[in-house]
Symmetry: C2
Subunit: 309 residues, 2 copies
């Protein structure tokens, strides 16, 4: 039986501070309709898909950012998105800021089945940036202020005939993310990102190098765990702050097989053959045969560096 999952990576261009969720959802539905025309089984949207990247603004009172968060999902603003996905029989994934009933704040993404069931929920573990206003940065990146680190680990789910996992943005730079997913036999990892094109602590770094680091992390994660990767940007200039593009689909061999070169709303579609993950998983990355966990202790025993004497 074929295990080809046709995936649409649905990039969103900029979302301005004043754009309503309803307006964004209309854009998402347009992309979904185009994905359907191109035969997609799954459409993947970015991190914080419903709003601008609000952690760039400092509020002394954190609760002033609460209006960017969703208290339930689906909700009034996204009901039409879920309805259209069900109508198309299309699975989907997107990210949003979540407030739990207990009042906890997470940077979250979900996996939704073709029938509208929310199968998977992931809460971003590796929050970049800082939690207090930092006058030494050219711009603020306050994810550590507005979100708690995810409390769900890196789960994977059986879906679309394979094993599917998620991560979000900065998680992609951490090999631990990929390995915990790989140890569940993941065959498709979907992730969204909002990545400023300027390093707030090293302006000279430049967009080209930041794009290189982005792709390097995706490609290494895909190759070293023999999995498809679908990475989707929110791109363009949001209220004067530029987010880089770089939406792409990476094969289990680590090759970029499809990408979007612009920074607007748009999709790129690729048929991902989940069976293409098997060769790597059974040979060079046959974990059971090759991994030597007796020598990996420090990875889970210590968070920070301990230098040799």
């Amino acid at each position: 039986m074929s295990r080809i999952v046709t995936v649409a990576a649905a990039q969103l261009g900029a979302i301005q501070k004043d754009d309503s969720r309803q307006a964004v959802v209309r854009r998402m539905i347009d992309l979904m309709d185009e994905a359907k025309r191109q035969g997609a089984d799954l459409v993947v949207y970015p991190e914080l898909a419903l709003t601008t990247f609000f952690p760039r603004w400092y509020h002394e009172d954190r609760a002033e950012a609460d209006h960017w968060f969703e208290r339930e999902m689906p909700n009034a603003a996204t009901g039409s998105l879920f309805a259209r996905a069900r109508e198309h029989g299309m699975a989907m994934s997107f990210g949003f800021a979540e407030i739990t009933p207990e009042g906890r704040h997470f940077n979250t993404s979900i996996l939704v089945e073709r029938d509208g069931t929310i199968t998977g929920r992931y809460r971003k573990v590796h929050l970049p940036g800082h939690d207090e206003h930092d006058p030494e940065r050219t711009h603020q990146h306050l994810e550590k202020r507005y979100f708690e680190p995810g409390d769900l680990g890196f789960p994977a789910w059986r879906m679309l005939g394979g094993v599917v996992g998620m991560c979000i943005c900065n998680d992609r730079r951490w090999p631990e993310t990929w390995r915990v997913l790989g140890l569940q036999g993941v065959e498709l990892v979907v992730l969204g990102f909002n990545t400023p094109s300027v390093n707030s602590q090293k302006g000279a770094e430049g967009l080209e190098k930041r794009m290189f680091h982005h792709k390097l992390s995706l490609q290494a994660g895909a190759y070293q765990n023999s999995t498809w990767v679908v990475a989707v940007a929110k791109a363009g200039t949001e209220d004067g702050h530029h987010l880089m593009g770089g939406t792409c689909i990476v094969s289990p061999d680590g090759e970029i097989v499809a990408e979007i070169a612009h920074e607007d709303d748009g999709i790129v579609v690729h048929p991902c053959d989940l069976d293409a993950t098997i060769f790597g998983k059974e040979t060079i990355f046959d974990f059971k045969r090759h991994r030597r966990i007796e020598h990996y202790g420090p990875i889970t025993a210590q968070a920070g560096v301990i230098t040799p004497k």
Copy 2:
């Protein structure tokens, strides 16, 4: 105080089955002399630098391979190499097959100080290949037959004003290798490799993709741990079996800053500023601030894959 370590990556061309260790050591000394002329503080040679890549041959009696192993280091064949390094005041690293006094077999590399002291010893943890003759492969890769997995973990040492670590060949494809070194604050990782240009289980893969995977692994390891990486090939055609080149030096930003494009004996030299590792280690890869070890459990708890239900 400047912490620039000028490193020579000293690639060796093919070593044939009948080449003596003495002949190889003469070639290594020639490279060392050239490294000295170019101002090197450290010269790095490949994995199994003293012999051909013998794990390509199957012996029913494993002891028939013992003549490829060294029982002590330095020894009669390598004494002149150690003497020349001391004379130049140059540190060095090279790999060799090691038999311990207890008769254990390892794929080993060492770090030798400028004064000739052996500061560091590493035994390859991630042995690729197989341990019995495999008629389905186009060629044999019997590292699991002739070597035990290393028993020393991934240590790092204070040397040359910085923190230096080693790994060997296939170790570079495993993010665990890099992370255990990174958790010791490593600033320079040296490694040698003997990588067949043909995948014995997937001939169609091709040299170009194998070179891509090689560099991808080095670049991700360097970037994600903010360390210099010096990777040195034994290259060329050994008794009819082709080993790829790809000797290169990678910056803590993950960029290849120097490489060798041929497959013969030769060096490439680069001044590695260990202070260039600091920015990454203190910002995006400030492990203590960003790593969430409570979610990494499976990495050390299980070797193989456990798929979701």
